[in-house]
């Protein structure tokens, strides 16, 4: 296993300590239980926005804490949802009296632990609403299964919802906006390589030099299908077509196009993918009016990409453009 780490058992804590050192002006990092809060803590009268999940997806979620985005993030062990005690303490820390929104990615573990945390917080008199993100079209949605995974839309939702909370929307409105973003967003991802979970010590799966996995999530799990490598344009088509057809997005829609790297993908490749994705959407008459390109929701050092498309309605664009000041996303300030 090749990683810049000291001890697999201390990866999360040491990375958190590094984040605290690197961003003293933006965040406070709390240990045992582990959570990150926006500098200054709860903003009185403002809805608190909290998210969390397993570690290994950096910069999500801790790198998205700050003005105009998340008030708190709860990092679990690598690829393991955090625990209710972390979520409860973080919820208390960021409740400004207007309640707290929990943004939960749709994984059994995340959902169950956030459920418990919400119960505990409500028991302490804190208003909590939870919205579950499930935008991954690689997984067929069904009442009889765990449903679709929450992936790229999470980053977009956290930005837009964070802005809504920042301007003073109440908990119901903030939660509604989060549901709307989730309803309007679809994603799909692929991998060129596996990642290695530090405590596992070897790659989660093996891919031949000429193979790729299509329809992966963000936990190094294998995808829906393994196939031969293809040129970037063909790969992007494989991801974008199901994304566009699932919502469906149609000609004339204004959208935000998010081309994401899985952690080990260099920007030069992301831009090649981005260029083709925007061209394909243009051919379909879909307007890309906002863009995000980079490694934002990752699977450790995995090489691969995901494509997320969000249909922008109402004031989503203004909320996207609103000032944000976090370690990973910053503009307008």
């Amino acid at each position: 296993m090749k990683k810049i780490i000291n001890d697999p058992a201390r990866v999360v804590e040491e990375a958190l300590a590094g984040m605290a050192a690197a961003h003293p002006d933006l965040i406070d990092v709390h240990f045992d239980p582990n959570y990150i809060t926006r500098k200054g803590g709860a903003v009185q009268g403002k809805v608190g926005v909290l998210s969390g999940g397993g570690s290994g997806h950096e910069p999500m979620h801790g790198g998205l804490v700050g003005r105009g985005m998340l008030d708190a993030a709860c990092p679990g062990a690598v690829f393991t949802s955090p625990t209710p005690d972390q979520m409860l303490d973080a919820t208390k820390a960021v409740d400004g009296g207007a309640g707290v929104l929990h943004i939960v990615k749709n994984y059994t573990g995340d959902v169950l632990n956030f459920e418990t945390a919400a119960e505990l917080a409500q028991a302490e008199g804190i208003q909590v609403e939870a919205v579950v993100i499930d935008d991954d079209v690689a997984v067929k949605d069904s009442l009889y299964t765990a449903g679709r995974r929450g992936v790229g839309a999470t980053v977009l939702a956290e930005k837009i919802v964070g802005a809504a909370a920042e301007r003073g929307d109440d908990l119901a409105a903030v939660a509604e906006m989060c549901r709307k973003v989730n309803a309007n967003a679809r994603s799909m991802g692929m991998a060129l390589t596996s990642c290695t979970v530090p405590h596992a010590g070897k790659p989660t799966f093996d891919l031949a030099e000429d193979e790729m996995e299509i329809g992966i999530g963000i936990h190094g799990e294998p995808g829906r299908e393994r196939m031969k490598l293809e040129p970037a344009d063909a790969v992007v088509d494989r991801l974008l077509t199901p994304v566009v057809e699932d919502l469906p997005f149609s000609s004339g829609d204004d959208t935000l196009l998010f081309v994401n790297g899985m952690g080990g993908t260099p920007l030069i490749e992301l831009y090649i993918a981005y260029g083709h994705a925007e061209k394909v959407l243009a051919e379909r008459g879909i307007n890309v009016v906002r863009r995000l390109v980079g490694n934002y929701i990752t699977s450790l050092e995995m090489q691969g990409i995901s494509v997320t498309l969000l249909k922008l309605e109402g004031d989503m664009v203004d909320l996207w453009d609103a000032p944000v000041h976090t370690p990973a996303l910053r503009w307008g300030v």
Binding site: T80, T83, N113, K140
Partner: protein, 212 residues
């Protein structure tokens, strides 16, 4: 011989050892159809449970089970944390107040554990989850008890059935948990959670055997 508080403490210690021995095995099972952390999660959780119990003097089997539940809920995370945590919590409630556990109490505890997991996780039989180890165990344990079996017989029936249920998950296509994301590709792999469940009940049966 009924189950004493010490017996349950011994079980917790024994299971922690079994999980550590099987840590990599459970990680590999989870790597095939999940995210390669089940062995690490259970190991972290059981070590935390032992550490917590070291500082306590539980008076009843229920106290031990409740303490373990708290450790699993606060230290494990993932799907296994809340599910096993709920299982131990419901089991604790099912035998609350009892100094020792008779065969019927053991059945009640296992049943409550399974019901708690189903209540939280909403899994149906053959969804390829730990429920597919728990449910046959509950049925077999109940049958053994009504046949007048002692604790050992009840737990051995449970362990045998759980192991069978665990093996039965292999050909199935998962409908719950991470493995469900793989669709057809989840077939041909044994469910990690069903495996850790079978290991738990086998550890209990072995202890009962030791005592007899």
């Amino acid at each position: 011989m009924p189950v004493s508080t010490q017996d349950v403490l011994d079980l917790v210690r024994a299971y922690a050892g079994v999980v550590t021995e099987n840590r990599d095995y459970l990680i590999q099972l989870d790597a095939a159809i999940g995210d390669a952390d089940h062995g690490e999660n259970m190991d972290r959780g059981m070590r935390a449970a032992l550490a917590k119990l070291d500082g306590e003097t539980p008076a009843t089997p229920s106290d031990v089970l409740k303490s373990v539940a708290t450790s699993l809920i606060t230290k494990v995370g993932g799907a296994a944390g809340p599910l096993y945590g709920t299982a131990f919590l419901r089991a604790a409630t099912a035998v609350q107040g009892k100094e020792t556990l008779e065969p019927t109490d053991v059945v009640a505890a296992i049943t409550a554990a399974r019901d708690g997991i189903v209540a939280r996780g909403k899994a149906e039989p053959q969804d390829k989850t730990m429920v597919d180890a728990w449910t046959p165990a509950v049925d077999a344990a109940g049958a053994a008890a009504s046949d007048g079996g002692g604790v050992r017989a009840v737990l051995e029936a449970a362990a045998d059935a759980a192991e069978q249920g665990m093996r039965d998950t292999i050909p199935w296509v998962a409908r719950k948990g991470r493995a469900s994301y793989l669709g057809e590709r989840s077939a041909g792999h044994q469910d990690p959670g069903a495996t850790s469940t079978a290991l738990l009940l086998r550890a209990a049966a072995d202890l009962a055997g030791r005592e007899a």
